[in-house]
Symmetry: D2
Subunit: 471 residues, 4 copies
């Protein structure tokens, strides 16, 4: 996120990042400008770990940017935590990136050939080199020119000593919203960051738009044509964003309730109780219960002392995290036919364990309902599903998946169902993870560790995609 | 909690305490016996902070006890964290205590007069002195004799190098459950600790019962007559325990759903949507929605990166914690008549803020429903409501409370409603916090800092009660 | 040490402990009184580690006591770090102890039999129980009565909310000095603590004397007759104390220079250069060079980033510490006959290695001169030589020792030499470590872990003595 | 330092850096290669703080480089700690630098103009950019070509995945020595690093020499003509190096003893005792005593729990450090005429305080003897004297200095005296700090913060020189 002309920018960024903590738990950082120089603090861990109260005092200033880091297993080195800070010939720049560039490796190689040095293994670092390149440096609308070189998914915020900038890729993969705070401005990935800091939602940053904010106010440029067929990430609505955010102009919770209602129409079942997987399946379960008339009840209890599992970096931690996170309420399910609602099945291990647990606790039937289509293809634009091999649904029919997880029935929302809540003029989604139809070709070595070869000489055979969290 | 004859007792206790983390977040500790000597590790903070993975390796053994600490503001000194460890003439003892003794100050004064030295300001420490006292040391059933001297609320677990013991006060204020794990045994405050460690619920420890478990198996003694009119803490069911626990033989979630249903009968209202305060009001909201037919929806979103507010030690932290914890979903409440369901109102500050926020987000009416009667009297047996002055309902009628928090209507569950789910043979509850009828007289200086006078010479005018968390 | 009526007692104690850091590096602690209550902070490590600057701010008050902890391998548990703090019937007491009690185990056993509970495995804790005992509590001159029960070596400082007390055992084993600081008072083990805090040396606390200092000024009591044949620890002068301290009324450096001169007379040798072991042998080497006319030079260089070896708790650390601590200067010793001067040989391993290293660097002859007699007997009064088996000189003649360490010649100062600097009216020393003539019988299980049996049930076969550092 | 083909390179580098800890205490770091990839660990503080034992386990490999950081107040940012690590088009490089480049700012500016990005404010970083530059990358003897662009003082060690390199500037300002360790090689700033790791001194790296060591053995190149009039830093001999090192082929201690002897001839005085400032003046004091016949004695005692003062980053810490570091031994100086020997006077504050303290303790006369000429000019090659304004001797005659520090007489070693120990064929020294005759012109903005402008936009008016510690 970015803020301009606010009291104690560091405190505001802190609270905004904290509200967006669900977007990345591996690291956090911010750069604040006192009008002349940029000061950076970042580190691994949660926002509250990286910024204990007194740390913020050392970061005076009225403008700055912040970031929470998500993903990049194998590549979770400290220097990859953002914002990145660099000194160009005309002064310092800080950047934070959400999304995944698809031509970063080519650009990186070209810059390295001409003598440039890279310090991280993130794709984001190429933007720094473009900004430092004399060719772009001498251009009018330099930042826009540099951004136009990038392909893939990106929402960027940038900071100079006296301005903030924000840009969104021409396909609009990633959400990026603009708000006002007093006389100042705020940019964030999700609008849920606005209320806790007292900001008001103004509008989305548009695909292909660059916004610059400085003493003279806000100016908007179109650095690239919006892609004819936009490609907004539907998974943000399905899974990633917080229910109280506006994403692509729609309230996330309400969209999910609609998905649940549609799911009840597409995949009805005779059952005694609808139970959500907390908290990811809650909204859709409310919708399913509402449309089906089957009563909603709590069948799983969440231990609040563990963070979100899906987003943790190592496979090992995932397993342990899942075990301790949810407990079954036997009294709810014993002797009953249960409909379990969740937002997605990725690897399937967790689903399998939970279904077995429900049966162990006496459920007579377990019907699973998922509020999106089967995720069969990896994402190269910023969601960390890992590789095709790890996706349970890749190359498998629904019946096979059902058997694998041990459910009595399994129903996924249809692709049409995904679009229903929006009507004709709604967002154009990227649905590559469901149908393999990638809106931007992926030319780079595909995978999260694609850029790791340099400093660590690891095998490039590992192929998970590098992605970043929320700016 | 206590475990006997299990593989890696330290790991088992860790997982059991983790599942009971909601019972206390100020400190955690455990003592493990390798059959000959007792090793202690404890510290301030959450279980996962006090016991990072590798710490557990240093605590070998097949039996041990553990504790999470709750409350005692003003008195949150490190040495008060339990278990307490002491060497008597016949060897070492460790104890952990849940509840609040009402005659600790007298016993303490008597022991000090005879030359004994106290190292904590907890009430629990008097049991150590009783056990060390030659009078009791020479008695058959020494522990039972010592326990019989205590008044008030207590669930104790004790550890010697080769045995564990567990006892519950004659009124049965606090829950204490017994389970089996393989060939071994487990004792815990709540049964939710059992599933994650693979244990099975056997039965409750009874009021006035002392259970000893050693190489020769389990033995049970009645160290005191069960009180004619038991006094189990109804607030455990209303608020404190986890929904998936069995407390006093009843599933907590189901009791709360029943409370919500009854509440809908006692305090019906015309409205558009029922929203719970997550997660404390969830079960009752399901019940209210079910009985009233008003649809349930999510009106508040919880930030999962903050722990439970009610239980934090300092007033200051409470305020901040509440602000960042819940966000409103304006789309759910705008233009609607809203029923908000929660389990209790203590000071009222949080309720007032949230109601205002709902109106700000467009709610046309806000009706508050609370799944217990007004809490008008302080608890001296182990729940930290603080003092009467801090309790909003103390000395106020419901209408006055409604005005104070700014609701359009306010309905509390009746005392009869509290009993309804259990029928004739149900538990006998302590309801002192609702009606001021204290089942055990409180003779000590009433308050959390009652025993602080010694080492710190603080004013005894401060009067919140000392309490401890889950063993 | 103890201070009374000084600005910011915590700062003064910090600086005084820092100057006495050589007396103990395992732990440090202090208790400060604000006139009403006592506040404690202590922990393992060096003074600067335990008390980072800002810690001291939290300890307001004008009086207090402090301690640095020395020794106790096996028993280096956190709770053994001093001062000890306890609440008696008449209020809180804090104590800090330098020395080693010889009847602690008996007293401890007696108190345990009567129901008292011990929380440390130090001998010092028995004084707390004596002070809490109603028998002594009711006595006039209670503290003196309690002290009179103790046998062995002790220098105690005590703190109540409004006074400090200081006492020295009747034999005067351990040094204890009294000074003034502005209108206030200071008590310390060594006078080197005085200059950095701006205090002035007044006099020694006398054997058998108890000094109390409160609002009414200083009062002195003789709680026990001074022992007819005093027994001051000569090893304080030889090794333990800092060169700039006054110990038993004599400057340590000057005494050591005299020892070096006498050593040159007792054990002359033809050689080219005298080299000290830095810094322990420096003073005596100056004396040896001065009396012999053989030039002094630096043959060893000390790495200043390692602390004093002798005093570290574990055998393992000792070995490593020694290796990295000193480097030879080959240019000083190559082709030369070298006299190496040090203050003592304990286990002999270090001496052996260093002599070998000198030869490797080209020394043609290595003559070792030690400024005290052979240490053949363990100390039970507070110096941690470990057991007889570990003492190289135990049961060995000088010639055998010489062979063992590989020197060309070896000369120890005679017992007469030890006394020479003082003349007829000089101090009466304890020389038990040289001649086995123990001035106070040792009735307890001899050894550092003698009191460990309780909480940890370790074998009592381990037999090193429990000792404490400087108060 | 650098090592090649040794068991557990990380352990060896650790021990070597530890022996060179006196060369820099602000930070430490190392990069180790396992033959394929480079792994970095570095941080602020002492070697033992940055590398607790278990850290080293994570750095497997048989070759690597390490560094301890010295100086750069204002610029002591974490990213300036070395080694620096960078990925060029042809793979990763790590470098560590001792000394100060005088044309770094120009090179930096040029690279920034062409689009390069800098991440530190150290001068050393320009070498990374030279190595990445396609012009040099395509050259035979690329590293030599790159090094030839640099001006000023440098001793560099470099690491690639399979080789180490070492180079020394053509003037030979900084020491750099080569040794063997088993079948492998070691390069270090000072030979004192060799003995603790079991290495043997082979020879100095020569001015203008580049040594490369890889699987094929050691190769030597002359990347630049040695400067006609070499300029070795005489302050290394006078002050900086450890007494047991060979610097420029001479044992440091012996040279200092000779300086002390010469000082006695140049500035004789009638006095009773010669006392060194420990430990910096010890060698020269031995020489002074030897040549004058005045007995040497200890007049100051050093507290071993404080590190070396001169080298700490902040002025504030210097002051406090000095106060607690030395105590006077009044018994040595009272009633005596004292000669105090030290190696230098920089700001004069410490000298003034110590002389006053000696008089307070009863010294009747205080004569100060300094084993080098007055330091009147700042160093731009790597010693942190700070600015001219801070140098007491800048623009002042000896008599004025004497008055300022309050000595009865003051004698400095002459420039001729500095050369005496070496005779005709000895080293050619840089003596700029004494006579202002700078062997390499300083064209950059002079000062330690010269390169700070970028990221922090601080005023360039601050003018202390950037310098680095030992490699």
């Amino acid at each position: 996120m970015a803020v301009f002309d606010v009291e104690r920018a560091a405190d505001v960024i802190h609270d905004g990042l904290f509200a967006q903590q669900h977007r990345g738990q591996e690291g956090a950082g911010m750069v604040v400008s006192d009008g002349q120089r940029l000061q950076l603090h970042k580190g691994p861990g949660l926002v509250q770990e990286v910024f204990p109260g007194d740390r913020l005092v050392d970061l005076p200033g009225r403008l700055g940017i912040g970031h929470v880091r998500y993903s990049t297993c194998g590549g979770d080195r400290a220097q990859n935590i953002q914002p990145l800070l660099a000194e160009c010939a005309d002064g310092p720049w800080a950047i934070a990136h959400n999304g995944n560039l698809t031509n970063a490796a080519q650009l990186r190689r070209a810059y390295q050939q001409s003598g440039s040095i890279f310090h991280t293994t993130t794709d984001s670092e190429v933007l720094v080199h473009l900004l430092a390149d004399p060719y772009y440096r001498s251009r009018i609308h330099r930042v826009g020119r540099a951004l136009a070189e990038l392909q893939g998914a990106f929402a960027f915020v940038l900071l100079t000593p006296d301005s903030i900038l924000a840009a969104r890729d021409p396909h609009g993969f990633k959400p990026l919203v603009l708000g006002t705070l007093g006389q100042g401005f705020v940019v964030a990935s999700e609008s849920c960051a606005f209320r806790p800091i007292g900001a008001r939602y103004l509008r989305d940053i548009e695909p292909g738009e660059l916004v610059t904010i400085n003493r003279d106010g806000l100016a908007s440029y179109q650095f690239a044509e919006p892609a004819a067929h936009g490609a907004q990430c539907v998974f943000e609505l399905v899974y990633f964003a917080r229910p109280d955010s506006l994403v692509f102009g729609h309230n996330v919770h309400q969209v999910r309730v609609r998905y649940g209602m549609r799911l009840a129409q597409e995949h009805p079942v005779e059952a005694d109780v609808v139970i959500p997987i907390p908290d990811s399946g809650m909204s859709a379960a409310i919708g399913y219960s509402r449309a089906s008339g089957i009563p909603l009840d709590m069948g799983f209890i969440r231990n609040h002392y563990i963070g979100r599992t899906f987003i943790m970096p190592e496979a090992g931690k995932r397993a342990t995290g899942a075990d301790r996170k949810l407990s079954v309420l036997p009294e709810t399910v014993a002797g009953r036919r249960v409909v379990v609602v969740d937002d997605s099945i990725v690897r399937g291990n967790t689903a399998r364990k939970r279904i077995a647990l429900l049966r162990e606790c006496g459920a007579t039937e377990v019907h699973v309902r998922i509020s999106c289509p089967p995720t069969r293809h990896p994402c190269f634009y910023g969601i960390d599903f890992a590789t095709s091999e790890e996706l349970l649904a890749a190359g498998r029919g629904v019946e096979e998946i059902r058997g694998s997880i041990g459910a009595d029935s399994l129903g996924y929302l249809s692709e049409e169902g995904l679009l229903e809540p929006f009507g004709a003029g709604g967002p154009r989604f990227c649905r590559a993870c469901f149908n393999g139809d990638y809106p931007v070709p992926v030319t780079d070595g595909r995978g999260k560790l694609a850029l790791e070869s340099g400093l660590t000489c690891e095998s490039s055979a590992r192929a998970a995609a590098t992605r970043k969290g929320a700016s």
